[in-house]
């Protein structure tokens, strides 16, 4: 199929080792998180299957010529829109949002794959607009490019993934050379604007009969803001945050020991094999385990940055930065959520949370990076 020895030599072994460590780590923790529950127990086996499929996707991505992808940009972009649109019309809903598509025995989340596709498309798009990113006006087409799929995702509604899209967009714009201050102002301004809007909305609800419209459902709003004061609704929306912090907090320095977490095994911790899996790490393996995991992710990101710097062409460079932005944002927001400093948005921990679509997407993305790495310039960063 491919020239084995030459290829293997060209692979980034550090990155592969880190990915392997993260996945093994994750399987151990998922085992711990699911072993008491008869239903969830199957998730461990399924996750192993997802890893295998993900590795297949990775190998596939390593073997394609990534430069070809740029040429198929338009087709990919449209395919992406179709997939996302399909979710809205034929998707299964979970927790009030439609995120799943079922094809035969398979059930997948197009919004996960959409992340990788948009990275590839946006990289090609930016590559074609080099030097035309100086002013705000120049950025408008970029916003429109990302905006179309973003609206479909918001329609599901999947706030978490739309935030990931924004992170990818800003990360890649920054890498492509848009003015840092302009980007900073846009991000900061946007955050300030949204915060003010939410605050004003709540203020109006509490103090007047005037209803300030906001494009979010009540449950989304509450989940977004409850992290600021989880005890206000400690048996409602705040429950997840509090139980997660209790789990992490009681872990202490060395943790309560693998399979020994009372929060995990007493089932106090909600959705503990997906969104809140990091809390299991914190509880059972303590500060040491949690920081070790963060360290692994940091090494991963560092290796990805190296690949970006050494990429043969701008397209490769931009794809790499897109993947880095995606992974970094996932880690920051997920860990931030479990430790109670960021809102609950339902963003999984890459290659760590249980879930097939996410695992496959992340491994495929890293496969793409390995492919970029194999064609790198032979100069070290």
């Amino acid at each position: 199929m491919f020239k084995q020895s030459r290829l293997l030599k060209k692979l980034d072994h550090t990155l592969l080792a880190v990915v392997a460590l993260i996945i093994i780590f994750s399987l151990v923790v998922i085992f711990s998180a699911t072993k008491d529950d008869t239903v969830l127990k199957k998730d461990f086996i399924k996750q192993i299957l997802f890893v295998v499929i993900g590795m297949g996707a990775m190998i596939f991505m390593v073997n394609i010529n990534y430069e070809d992808l740029a040429r198929h940009m338009k087709k990919l972009y449209i395919l992406n829109l179709i997939l996302l649109g399909a979710v809205i019309f034929m998707g299964d809903s979970a927790l009030g949002a439609q995120r799943w598509i079922e094809i035969g025995p398979f059930r997948f989340q197009p919004s996960e794959f959409a992340k990788l596709i948009i990275i590839i498309c946006f990289a090609a798009f930016l590559n074609s607009r080099q030097g035309k990113l100086r002013s705000f006006k120049d950025l408008m087409p970029c916003f429109a490019f990302i905006g179309a799929p973003l609206i479909l995702i918001l329609k599901q509604p999947d706030l978490g993934t739309s935030l990931v899209f924004m992170a990818i967009m800003f990360g890649m714009l920054f890498a492509a050379g848009a003015r840092p201050w302009l980007l900073f102002c846009l991000v900061a301004g946007g955050l300030a604007f949204v915060s003010l809007w939410i605050w004003a909305h709540f203020w109006c609800e509490a103090n007047s009969s005037f209803h300030l419209w906001i494009p979010l459902k009540d449950y989304q709003l509450n989940r977004l803001t409850i992290f600021l004061n989880p005890w206000d609704d400690w048996h409602g929306d705040g429950y997840h945050i509090i139980q997660s912090q209790i789990a992490i907090g009681q872990g202490g320095f060395l943790g309560r020991g693998l399979f020994q977490g009372s929060q995990t095994h007493g089932d106090f911790l909600p959705i503990q094999d997906t969104d809140f899996i990091f809390s299991v790490v914190g509880e059972e393996l303590g500060f040491v385990g949690a920081v070790a995991l963060l360290f692994l992710f940091f090494i991963l990101i560092y290796r990805c940055v190296c690949i970006a710097v050494n990429a043969k062409d701008n397209f490769g460079y931009l794809v790499a930065t897109g993947v880095i932005s995606m992974i970094a944002f996932h880690v920051l927001v997920n860990v931030g959520m479990t430790t109670g400093i960021m809102p609950v948005t339902g963003i999984p921990l890459p290659m760590f949370s249980y879930g097939g679509s996410s695992m496959i997407t992340n491994l495929a993305a890293l496969g793409l990076l390995l492919s970029i790495n194999m064609k790198k310039q032979n100069i070290m960063f």
């Binding site: 990360g171 048996h235 209790i246 907090g249 202490g252 095994h265 007493g266 940055v305 430790t339």
Partner: protein, 651 residues
């Protein structure tokens, strides 16, 4: 793009990521290293469940060991870990099963401050509801059924007013006893001995510590602390006498109603041991069911108990009534002790006494020539009008006070009322309510001024002149502020402001019977712990010795004895086949109602051991209605067939 540009961009990128990662690490360090203790505690509260094992309250026995109050196991429904997410759902389902309002259950949950302790939702759950909850167990996570000891009354309502009732501690009681380890939902004695002896009766709750999961399913037992039962009370009450007293009151009420006294629906009776003050029986009618008060109270039950005009919760043995002629022994003793009247002095009774207006004797035409003993025997009002007027109210009130009639007896029951011994001062007190502010201030000033002057003088004549001047001044404000002869006259037959409880009357009769020693009545002999060790023992307490010569006492006792003797003692006809009994009837006039029926007695006359007082509201003549109550009680005490009881073994 240039390589330099890319490297610069990526360096910045890495720095930004590093900053964010550092924030995460600091956050982790804060949670796991600095706040570790706090979160460990919270985690422990999550998973360690302390299930209280309620200690049984102490049991209560009569003087012969008959169990009066015990405990029985009942089912209670509790909700554990109410912080669960789907709690509203569970509350709704549970409310539907229990037939309660979900809001009330939610309120109970909200009141519980410690979230890791179960919240008691309902007690005394019938078995069919227990079964329904068990059946729907899967849909009711956190709903637990426990077995708890609850008060059981083997004799129904017997002794209810003495024992009082037990109910969940209320917020005020919780606040007042916060150092004593009470918590929401604990049983608490609300009235009666249950209240007075709460600290002895309550046991020490035990507990079972369990490790549970988020659905409160036990994972592991961590240990058990056995509860310590409360201490038992051994009462002075004689079950037989008490039972007969309560039944006789009910019979008396029915009898009076049958005779046309429609309002005769309440009464009281007290029996005391004359040599110790031990209460042998203390009954109040009507009674109530303490079991109803232990659980959820329906609106109807609440109204019946608390808003009924019959006031079944009221302990009428402690409620002052006008004593009527049962007061005459006080006047007789005061007369003899004053030296102004000799036992043999006679008066002629034409059936009335005239002083400004006519004071009627109860017997039209009068009793003819009457001395003291005969006056007691036939309850001659005219005799006591005249004798009372002759000796004056101060002698009478002084004697009444010697018998403790102006004070509460100090029995171990809450809600005792002291009653009124009428004299110049109490008359002013009674009338103060009707005065305007200006007059009130004047009265106070006069009182103070004369009290000062009176305390400085020792001369008897000057005292008299001061008192007469004071009277004049008071009379100027209002005529009825001053004490008048007619006040003395009506007070002498136990009317006017005279008001004493059946307990006070029984105690005063006991002092007459035992030769003048006034004991403090008491109900609890011993407090015994569950190992049989005596925790507290109550001994007779002497409140005072009545300053009356034995001869004078003997004269009055003889008068009381004559009451039960033929041919015309007012209680003649009772106590057939009994040892000799000394008694006195009383028929106390009440404004706008039929008179109260009263009866006091002690027995045996020559060697007394029991004193009894009974009263029936608005029941007419004392002898006919209140007499049989005392007669039945005495029979029960002496082991004789109870005359009032329906004949058994009839073919």
């Amino acid at each position: 793009m240039e390589r330099n540009f890319i490297e610069r961009k990526m360096r910045t990128y890495l720095i930004i990521v590093s900053i964010f990662f550092s924030i995460l690490v600091f956050r982790l360090a804060y949670l796991q290293l600095l706040q570790n203790d706090k979160f460990s505690t919270l985690a422990r509260e999550n998973r360690i469940r302390l299930v209280t094992i309620t200690a049984p309250r102490g049991e209560v026995f009569d003087r012969n060991g008959v169990k009066l109050v015990g405990n029985q196991p009942v089912y209670t429904v509790s909700l554990v870990n109410p912080g669960r997410k789907n709690i509203d759902d569970v509350v709704e389902k549970l409310a539907a099963i229990l037939g309660e309002d979900p809001g009330e259950i939610q309120q109970k949950i909200d009141q519980q401050k410690r979230s890791y302790e179960p919240v008691k939702i309902a007690t005394m759950i019938p078995l069919d509801i227990v079964t329904r909850i068990e059946e729907q167990r899967m849909e009711l996570p956190g709903v637990e059924i426990y077995v708890e000891p609850l008060r059981e009354y083997p004799n129904g309502n017997l002794l209810t007013h003495v024992m009082g009732y037990v109910r969940q501690i209320n917020e005020e009681q919780l606040a007042a006893n916060k150092d004593k380890g009470y918590k929401m939902g604990d049983p608490y004695g609300q009235t009666g001995l249950e209240n007075t002896y709460e600290q002895y009766l309550r046991g020490q709750d035990g507990g079972r510590q369990m490790e549970v999961d988020s659905l409160a399913r036990p994972v592991r037992d961590l240990g058990i602390k056995e509860p310590v039962p409360g201490n038992n009370l051994l009462l002075t009450i004689d079950y037989k006498v008490q039972k007969v007293a309560e039944e006789a009151l009910a019979r008396a009420s029915q009898q009076a109603i049958k005779e046309g006294y429609g309002e005769a629906r309440a009464g009281a009776a007290v029996a005391l041991d004359v040599h110790s003050g031990q209460v042998l029986a203390l009954a109040s009618y009507p009674s109530y069911d303490p079991v109803k008060l232990a659980g959820v109270l329906s609106q109807k039950d609440y109204n019946d108990l608390f808003n009924s005009p019959l006031k079944p919760m009221l302990n009428r043995a402690l409620l002052p009534y006008a004593p009527g002629s049962t007061f005459k022994m006080i006047v007789a003793l005061a007369a003899l002790e004053s030296g102004l009247v000799k036992a043999g002095d006679t008066i002629s009774d034409p059936g009335y006494f005239f002083l400004g207006r006519t004071f009627m004797d109860w017997k039209p035409g009068g009793h003819g020539q009457v001395d003291l003993i005969r006056a007691l025997k036939v309850s001659c009002d005219t005799y006591f009008y005249q004798v009372g007027l002759k000796i004056g109210i101060d002698h009478i009130a002084g004697m009444a006070r010697q018998f403790g009639l102006d004070k509460i007896t100090g029995i171990e029951l809450p809600g005792e009322d002291a009653g009124v011994v009428p004299d110049r001062d109490t008359k002013i007190e009674q009338r103060l309510y009707y005065l305007d502010e200006k007059s009130l201030a004047k009265v106070k000033e006069i009182n103070q001024r004369y009290n000062d002057l009176l305390s400085r003088t020792t001369d008897e004549n000057e005292r008299k002149s001061l008192l007469s001047k004071k009277s004049d001044e008071l009379r100027e404000i209002e005529w009825e502020l001053d004490w008048h002869d007619y006040d003395t006259i009506i007070s002498s037959i136990g009317q006017g402001d005279n008001h004493y409880s059946a307990l006070q009357l029984a105690n005063y009769i006991a002092a007459i019977a035992n030769g003048g020693t006034l004991y403090k009545p008491y109900i609890v002999q011993k407090v015994v712990d569950f190992n049989g060790r005596i925790i507290k023992e109550n001994k007779p307490v002497v409140l005072g010795q009545v300053n009356v010569s034995p001869q004078n006492l003997a004269i009055v006792r003889q008068g009381m004895y004559e009451v039960t003797q033929p041919p015309d003692g007012t209680a003649y006809g009772f106590f057939t086949g009994f040892p000799p009994v000394a008694a006195k009837t009383g028929t106390a006039e009440v404004d706008d109602h039929e008179p109260h029926a009263l009866f006091v007695c002690y027995a045996p006359y020559d060697n007394p051991d029991i004193a009894i007082a009974s009263v029936l509201e608005y029941a007419g003549h004392g002898g006919t209605i209140a007499g049989p109550v005392a007669e039945d009680m005495l029979a029960a005490h002496l082991g004789l067939p109870v005359p009032g009881e329906p004949q058994k073994n009839q073919p």
